[in-house]
């Protein structure tokens, strides 16, 4: 028994030695070297189906040298089966009868119990019409089958993945389109050097450019910002999403636009970011809304304060009217009873102050009862004239002049409340005259503005208003006068608003002040 495997080179010797045994003689094979060097596994059976020779590849494939094993022992040893024939043991000796070569797919176990796949062929060895042996060769295809199986599994997996990805892609494509067409999300794809690959319409629109402007251009060439660039680079390196809030992403060009944005690195197969998706939300509206809300809240607070003050003012004013009435009656009685001319100057002063107090009270009351105006069509020039006449009367002793030029308002009508409008011009004229100490001039000019509104400008050559005070002059109870309620301009502004008009003031400290009253025109008649 030759159980040793001693390499391919000496197969011929073994064949020779076999001849010396009791077994029938093998057919003479001219080139033992050739058999031994046959590159695929090969086994030779003798006529009694006992293995007489196994070449080196066969020994390697089986994991043992099968020489001297009978075919039954061999079958048992390697658990030889053919999956193609319903796991039935392969009848190698069938070749005996048929004398034809057969090719079959086999499965067998090696000495270590590993399952092998083989594509085998058997053929009878015939000498002078007699079968003297069987040659069995096979190709071990275990690795190939395994590779194929793995490949198949991999292919299946790939296919599944492909389907999944395709679905995802379709979904994300839809999502992308949905997002892209949405009016408020700005989206852009950037390469790793921050060059634009593509942008959506919203993105381009926000910057007033067509979408095709962007591809190929560098974000930081267009909108240089070192700090943002550093953060972009960090996002790229860390492969993490970068977020920013209320940031002027396009500061270089649009410092007025603020965005909440995020930069998403898209990872390639190598795990490195190979693209960046920039998504930005325009938060200007939100910021504006918050700002508006804050302003509105402020206005409501102010209105509430004014309403409280108004109620208080009205109550106080009302309560003051009674004692003032008593004082006036008492003064009347004093004058009547004394008949003393020496007292006359003092009495006149008291009466004057009663009038002034009464005027303050009325102003307070007017402020607290800002009523819905009863709008009537009236000549604005007439109202201004009446106010000028009234002011001249009241400021008889004031050295300042009042000049007027109302020709520009000739035939100009406005829709307004007569008494409210009168109050506005009265207040403005009183302010103008009180701003002038000694000589000076108040000029009243009426024109039609470019926007078609009636404009009355009242300028004085008075002391003017410091810039820091100018922004407060419409605040209720803000006054620069020693004896003022601080309600004149606040009331005027409110009244004009009620009459769809407006008031503005410009001033130069030391040079004078100009108050501009505007009212929408309601036609002209000559």
């Amino acid at each position: 028994m030759q159980a040793e495997h001693d390499g391919t080179g000496r197969a011929g010797e073994r064949l020779d030695r076999g001849e010396s045994s009791l077994r029938p003689a093998l057919p003479e094979i001219d080139s033992g070297e050739l058999l031994a060097s046959f590159p695929e596994p090969m086994i030779l059976y003798d006529a009694e189906m006992v293995i007489r020779f196994a070449n080196a590849p066969a020994v390697e494939s089986l994991g043992f040298d099968p020489t001297s094993l009978s075919i039954d022992a061999m079958r048992e040893r390697i658990d030889l089966r053919s999956p193609e024939s319903d796991d039935r043991a392969v009848d190698l000796d069938q070749a005996d009868g048929e004398r034809v070569a057969r090719s079959t797919f086999y499965r067998f176990h090696d000495s270590a119990g590993r399952v092998h796949m083989a594509l085998g062929s058997s053929a009878p060895l015939v000498r002078r019409g007699e079968v003297v042996g069987v040659v069995w060769t096979w190709i071990d295809i275990t690795d190939r089958v395994r590779a194929e199986e793995m490949l198949s599994v991999a292919m299946d997996r790939l296919e599944d993945e492909l389907v999944e990805r395709t679905i995802e892609l379709i979904e994300s494509q839809e999502l992308l389109e949905e997002i892209s067409s949405s009016t408020h999300l700005l989206m852009a794809g950037l390469d790793t050097s921050f060059n634009y690959l593509r942008v959506n319409k919203t993105f381009a629109g926000a910057l007033g450019r067509p979408p095709e402007f962007f591809p190929g251009r560098n974000h930081f060439d267009l909108f240089p910002c070192e700090r943002t660039e550093r953060r972009f680079e960090q996002a790229l390196l860390s492969r993490r999403v970068l977020n920013a809030k209320q940031h002027a992403l396009f500061r270089a060009e649009r410092p007025d636009l603020f965005y909440d944005w995020s930069l998403h690195p898209v990872l390639g197969q190598d795990g490195e970011a190979d693209e960046l998706i920039l998504v930005a939300v325009d938060v200007n509206l939100r910021m504006k809304a918050i700002d508006d809300l804050r302003k509105a809240t402020e206005q409501i607070k102010q209105a509430k304060r004014l309403s409280d003050i108004g109620t208080l003012a009205a109550t106080v004013a009302h309560e003051l009217r009674n004692p003032l009435g008593v004082i006036r009656t008492a003064v009347y009685n004093i004058r009547r009873k004394s008949g003393d001319p020496a007292l006359e100057r003092h009495i006149a002063n008291i009466e004057k102050k009663i009038d002034e107090s009464s005027a303050i009270i009325n102003n307070l009351l007017n402020y607290s009862r800002m009523q819905t105006p009863s709008l009537k069509r009236l000549r604005v020039g007439d109202i201004v004239s009446e106010s000028i006449t009234g002011a001249r009367k009241r400021f008889r002793t004031h050295p300042a002049k009042i000049s007027r030029n109302l020709r520009g308002l000739r035939g100009a009508f406005v829709k307004a409340d007569v008494s409210q409008l009168r109050m506005v011009f009265d207040n403005v004229l009183v302010n103008a005259l009180q701003a002038i100490e000694g000589d000076g001039e108040v000029r009243v000019r009426g024109t039609i503005g470019k926007d078609g509104a009636a404009v009355v400008e009242i300028s004085d050559t008075g002391c003017g208003i410091e810039p820091q005070n100018l922004e407060r002059i419409f605040d209720p109870f803000f006054t620069l006068k020693a004896k003022g309620t601080g309600l004149g301009l606040a009331v005027s502004s409110e009244l004009l608003a009620l009459n769809k008009g407006s008031i503005s003031v410009r001033s130069k400290p030391g040079a004078g002040t100009t108050v501009k009253v505007k009212l929408p025109l309601d036609g002209r008649e000559s």
């Binding site: 109620t311 009205a314 109550t315 009302h318 309560e319 009217r321 009674n322 004692p323 003032l324 009435g325 008593v326 004082i327 006036r328 009656t329 008492a330 009347y332 009685n333 009547r336 009873k337 009663i354 009464s358 009351l365 607290s368 009862r369 009523q371």
Partner: protein, 135 residues
């Protein structure tokens, strides 16, 4: 004094005193009342040519008294008020809708601090005898 009789109804005693003094100097016979009930009693007890009536009165409200005066006498009434006539000033004051028809009953309305010569002129006018038998 043979002047016409004038009644002043005002809860402000100083107001009553000064007005009374003023009217007496003008030759009128003057009575004063400081609340609504007192005013009502005096109206019911004497024939006044003119009543100067404050609208905000304790015990018996001015508008009620005004209505009573107009229903029971021939007195002319001048309403003297510190309440702005076009303004609602809180719960105590009558709303314009309530007050307006009442004020229609008044012969004149004077807002404090009223113009004295105007009030005196009204009183003179109202105190003149109206009925033929008085002529």
């Amino acid at each position: 004094m043979t002047g016409a009789k004038v009644l002043i109804v005002d809860d402000d005693r100083d107001m009553c005193a000064e007005l009374a003094e003023m009217l007496r100097l003008e030759g009128y016979t003057v009575d004063t009342a400081h609340d609504g009930l007192e005013g009502k009693r005096m109206i019911d007890g004497g024939a006044y040519a003119v009543v100067l009536l404050d609208l905000k009165l304790p015990l018996y409200d001015g508008p009620e008294l005004l209505r009573h005066i107009k229903e029971t006498s021939s007195a002319r009434v001048i309403v003297i008020t510190g309440v702005p006539l076009t303004e609602e000033l809180g719960r105590e004051a009558l709303s314009w809708e309530e007050r307006e028809p009442v004020l229609d009953l008044a012969d004149a309305v004077a807002e404090k601090p009223f113009d004295i010569s105007g009030v005196l002129e009204s009183i003179r006018r109202f105190a003149r005898p109206r009925s033929p038998e008085a002529l």
